[in-house]
């Protein structure tokens, strides 16, 4: 293989990452933001978002594509946080309590999601996306109408003035940044939330370990070819459900970490864009529908969020309108997801076409 060809392959395989690095580098100077500011923002945002993005890895591994249904886990975490505030449990204990409440809910949600996705094989992504909308309706029903009416809420400060339903914005004062500030390290001018990073590192170790277990290997087999896995005696449907359950539970923890860093929770909107940001991040980091590594997560979170930090300011300075930057970053987010999916589907089709041609002996090409 010549060096030229390897280089070409490197570009085509990492097209998204390379395009993104270029856009980001181009947007930094016009934003006028200082490098230390951007670095500090990145440290904060890595702590805030990485856990959520890591939740996407296992379903990709199991061949189920990007788990847009991770929003279900985020909603479970939010219910946990609402109850933690209700009982006024503060600090890290509050977070642990929220996680404890969120876990059984997210296991149940994950099971439902897995069962639904098993009935929609080959269309997992779009089904997961709509499922998130559907469960959002159920979530609103529970939080807006049942809480305070059927489930007793003790803390009147979080209930709407009409007597039932949770307020639109919750102040997470008691648990605000309790994980981040548990052990804050100051390195030069930068503040590093060490405890959060330890949790994230723990999850990375878990993912690496999990892939080596019997179950992890089964997932890979299922992701590779369901029919072959079935023939080999692997319970395909069960394995897929487990992958989604783990992802949903992780998303539940991830959302709690995300919200404790934000310090406020928009009760009915906080989960709206969870999957959008997480999916965009992992794809920007170079993952595809079928392939994702832990490195993709970190690269992706950094790249996506540098862009998110700089574009509003760049838009303001270049066009005199911060809205342009705001729209631009959303366009980039959606565009990246579309582009990656297109590139992947395109490549997959080319590969099948090539495989078919080689079967025919390469003579009868171009039928399609």
């Amino acid at each position: 293989m010549s060096g030229n060809k390897t280089l070409g392959r490197f570009f085509s395989e990492n097209a998204v990452v390379i395009i993104f690095v270029l856009i980001t580098l181009a947007a930094i100077p016009p934003s006028g933001l200082s490098i230390p500011y951007i670095v500090q923002e990145m440290i904060t945002r890595l702590g805030r978002n990485t856990f959520l993005v890591l939740a996407l890895i296992l379903p990709i591994y199991a061949g189920m594509g990007l788990n847009f249904g991770m929003t279900l886990g985020a909603m479970s975490g939010q219910i946990g946080l609402i109850l933690a505030i209700n009982w006024n449990i503060t600090g890290v204990e509050g977070l642990a309590f929220a996680a404890l409440i969120g876990t059984p809910i997210s296991v149940m949600m994950g099971y439902i999601a897995g069962a639904v996705l098993n009935r929609a094989k080959g269309r997992e992504m779009v089904t997961g996306y709509i499922l998130a909308f559907f469960i959002n309706g159920v979530y609103q029903f529970v939080v807006l109408y049942m809480m305070g009416a059927i489930f007793p809420i003790r803390n009147p400060a979080i209930v709407l003035s009409r007597g039932y339903g949770i307020r639109n914005t919750l102040n997470l004062q008691g648990v605000r940044q309790s994980l981040d500030t548990l052990f804050m390290l100051k390195v030069g001018p930068y503040l590093i939330p060490v405890a959060t990073f330890i949790v994230i590192a723990g999850l990375c170790v878990f993912v690496v370990w999990f892939k080596k277990t019997k179950l992890g290997q089964d997932m890979r087999a299922v992701g590779h070819d369901m029919a072959v896995a079935q023939a080999a005696g692997i319970p395909v449907d069960r394995t897929r459900i487990i992958a989604i359950i783990i992802s949903t539970v992780l998303a539940n923890f991830g959302q709690i970490i995300f919200l404790q860093n934000m310090g406020n929770m928009a009760t009915y909107n906080a989960h709206d864009q969870t999957s959008f940001f997480a999916v965009a991040a992992i794809l920007v980091g170079g993952a595809s529908v079928k392939k994702a590594a832990i490195s993709n997560v970190f690269i992706g979170v950094i790249l996506l969020h540098v862009l998110f930090v700089v574009t509003p300011r760049a838009g303001q300075n270049l066009f005199g309108s911060a809205m342009i930057g705001e729209y631009f970053r959303q366009f980039i987010g959606y565009g990246v997801i579309a582009l990656t999916l297109v590139l992947y589907a395109w490549k997959a089709r080319q590969n099948t076409a090539r495989a078919r041609e080689s079967l025919r002996g390469g003579t009868a090409g171009g039928a399609k």
């Binding site: 269309r123 309706g137 609103q140 809205m323």
Partner: protein
């Protein structure tokens, strides 16, 4: 008894349930102080407003492209058309048909590009369509800010540039179709004859088209690609044709919607519009790979009926605003139901 059972199975349980739910709402309406005539008038109006979006789903479902979650591409073309029409100061019927006329070329170009893209990604159309639609809407958000529109009714007053979020079409083409031959009974019932005629005409055209040679070929590509290829039909070409038609219908649909609603909604407004249309056609009994005009009519009627009646009846009955939650659960539940049904036709 068996006949009824067979009918229910054919018609599908979700539709039967929604139909009876809607019926119950109509029966309950007078008791909670909701006027039936006003409700029916409102329902007909919404039916006409949204019908073309639902109709736009048919060609792509039939050609095997699945549900058009990227309908916003067509809606964007329609927005370009109507803003141009207002920019040039066209009024009345000229304004409406001007908007349609400006929109269609854009819709054809967008649809052609969008169709070619979808041909490259067979099997993943729906997810990709959704994100292509989202990305298109966000891209146009930037465009609405920078395109050189100058009509004073449309741009922000203080900056003198950049389009407003909502633009009134009052004095341009507001209600031109609705008012055409409209029948008024009492003070709260209006039959929007013109709009329903226009919508019926479009539906008839699509129905006719599906029966032409091209239309049959298009259906063949969707229902049996191998057979279609053996008969010498280019599947890529047929799919592109279906995407273009769908996009054009989306563009015309938004102009019809605007003339009835009275406002042009820009920026992120088109983001969620495709989902309502998808839910409607599925409620009408279409599946991911088969849809007919009957599905369109029943679906648009049931879905819009539900949207009209649940807020007024449920909210007056229970004194809460729970209808929005019901809408989310019903419309998305029905999409999931359709997506998880076993496909009869292999890929």
């Amino acid at each position: 008894m068996d006949k009824i059972k067979q009918f229910v199975t054919d018609f599908g349980w979700p539709r039967v349930i929604i139909f009876f739910f809607l019926l119950a709402l109509f029966i309950a309406a007078p008791f909670v102080g909701v006027r039936i005539d006003a409700s029916i008038s409102d329902m007909l109006n919404r039916f006409g407003q949204n019908m073309l979006f639902v109709l736009a789903m048919v060609p792509m479902i039939q050609s095997g492209c699945g549900l058009n979650f990227g309908l916003s591409i067509g809606i964007i073309a329609g927005l370009i058309g109507s803003t141009m029409s207002v920019q040039f100061g066209l009024t009345g019927f000229l304004g409406f048909f001007g908007a349609v006329g400006f929109a269609i070329p854009f819709a054809i170009i967008f649809g052609w590009l969008y169709g070619m893209l979808l041909n490259k990604v067979k099997g993943e159309e729906m997810t990709i369509a959704m994100y292509v639609g989202f990305a298109g809407v966000m891209f146009m958000c930037i465009m609405w800010l920078v395109l050189p529109y100058t009509a004073p009714t449309m741009v922000w007053g203080y900056a003198g540039k950049g389009l407003r979020t909502t633009i009134t079409v009052e004095g341009f083409f507001r209600q031109v179709l609705n008012e055409f031959l409209a029948i008024r009974i009492g003070d709260s019932f209006v039959f929007p004859t013109g709009m329903l005629l226009f919508v019926a005409f479009c539906t008839f055209l699509v129905w006719l088209f599906m029966r032409t040679k091209t239309g049959t070929a298009l259906t063949a590509v969707g229902s049996n690609p191998d057979y279609a290829r053996a008969s010498g039909i280019s599947s890529d070409r047929m799919r592109t044709v279906s995407v273009i038609i769908s996009t054009v219908l989306g563009a015309v649909g938004i102009v019809v919607y605007q003339q009835s609603y009275g406002f042009i909604q820009l920026y992120t407004a088109p983001l969620q519009m495709p989902f309502a249309a998808v839910a409607a056609i599925l409620i009408g009994g279409a599946s991911v790979n088969k849809a007919s005009m009957v599905n369109v009519l029943i679906g648009a009627f049931l879905f819009q009926g539900l949207l009209t009646m649940t807020p007024s009846v449920i909210n007056s009955a229970l004194k809460t605003d729970i209808s929005e939650v019901i809408r989310i659960i019903v419309s998305n539940g029905i999409i999931i139901y359709a997506l998880t049904r076993k496909m009869k036709v292999a890929k």
